[in-house]
Amino acid sequence: MRFSRGPIRNSLVQLSRLFALIATALLALSLSGCRWLLSNSGPIPVVVAAESLGLAWDSNESQLPDQPSSVDHYNVYYRPHGTADWRFLHATEDDTAGTTIVSSELDFGSYEFAVEVVYRDGTTSARHGSSDFSAWPTGGWYVVWQAP
């Protein structure tokens, strides 16, 4: 295997310059306030006017079936929009990546939701919330749930 110090040093210099450039740009972005970018940020409201609402998410099913790391079910959590603490809502009956919430178990209002995976060995994943940047729609959302 060829091992040349010159190109590595040059590459490292270029790499450090690149990171310095990115850090400077981000610092400038933060200091300027970047008003055009942040003037209208945060999770986007999704209005639902119905007796029930459906949630769906991407499954992270194991490639090999019936393993301890296979999905057993999901736990669904909610919190009023703008609050910090998650409250348990219900668990799904099986590994179906979706659930329906009816008005008899939750009052109408503005909510964020989150799900966590419960694996067959009893361990759980980190919660993924509707207000996370990686949710769909990208950037996050919350539900404004109204009576029909």
């Binding site: 295997m1 060829r2 091992f3 040349s4 190109p7 590595i8 590459s11 490292l12 270029q14 790499l15 690149l18 990171f19 990115i22 981000l26 970018l37 942040l38 003037s39 209208n40 940020s41 945060g42 999770p43 986007i44 409201p45 999704v46 209005v47 006017a49 490639q63 940047f133 990686s134 729609p137 990208t138 950037g139 996050g140 959302w141």
Partner: protein, 215 residues
């Protein structure tokens, strides 16, 4: 699907075991005058070491390897009539290797943009229309490992800045409400959609051959 995976794994294992035996027959001769031309390869994602092949970041990926750099291109395109879900995206990653050989560590720059649209309609007075424009820029640090001269796997870390502009137009009984939001995320993590990339080059690169000659 399981059968297909078993067949694929069998083929790859067979190649891994017997390639040294009949390697000369498998590999085409490297062209002498091809040094300056890019070697083109197709990129796939594999979610695990069983080489369960998937589309590269959900789209079509190609790699153009030059003598001292490489360029990865990604194009995504999709449409579903059930919810009028449309996705169009393009991305490019420029790579600079620290050194070349069987293992090629590299750093690079990436830029990508994706436009997504979706319309869920109950009737013409009740619908939700969503449009999302996402842009990404950042740097990558990774390594490409050549299994053969025409086949490599790679994994990489990513330091990226993502901006997403989301606009939702909702109509409830004919009353339309529009809302929009712009959010950004910045951070380091696994790039390449947190999976292993697999590159099949259309022309042998001669890297392993050169390495054997040096030894």
């Amino acid at each position: 699907m399981v059968r297909l995976r078993v067949v694929l794994v069998s083929v790859v294992l067979t190649l891994l075991i017997f390639a040294p035996v009949f390697g000369q027959e498998l590999e085409a001769p490297v062209e002498e005058d091809a040094a300056d031309r890019p070697t083109v390869g197709f990129i796939f994602n594999t979610s695990n070491l069983l080489l369960d092949i998937d589309a590269y970041q959900g789209g079509f990926g190609a790699k153009f390897r030059y003598p001292e750099s490489a360029l990865r291109a990604l194009v995504t395109l999709g449409y579903a009539s059930t919810n009028s879900n449309l996705e169009v995206g393009a991305g490019v990653t420029y790579e600079r290797p620290f050194f070349t050989g069987r293992v090629v560590p590299y750093w690079g720059l990436l830029a990508a943009a994706v436009v997504q649209g979706e319309r869920v309609e109950v009737d013409e007075d009740n619908y939700t229309q969503t449009r999302v424009i996402t842009g990404s820029a950042g740097a990558v640090l990774g390594a490409e490992v050549f299994i053969f001269d025409f086949l490599s796997v790679f994994g990489e870390y990513q330091l990226a800045f993502d901006v997403a502009h989301t606009a939702i137009s909702q109509s409830v009984d004919g009353t339309v409400t529009d809302s929009s939001s712009t959010n950004y995320a910045f951070g380091a993590g696994l790039g390449n959609n947190a999976s292993i990339g697999l590159v099949v080059y259309l022309r042998p690169l001669g890297i392993l051959e050169a390495e054997s000659a040096e030894e």
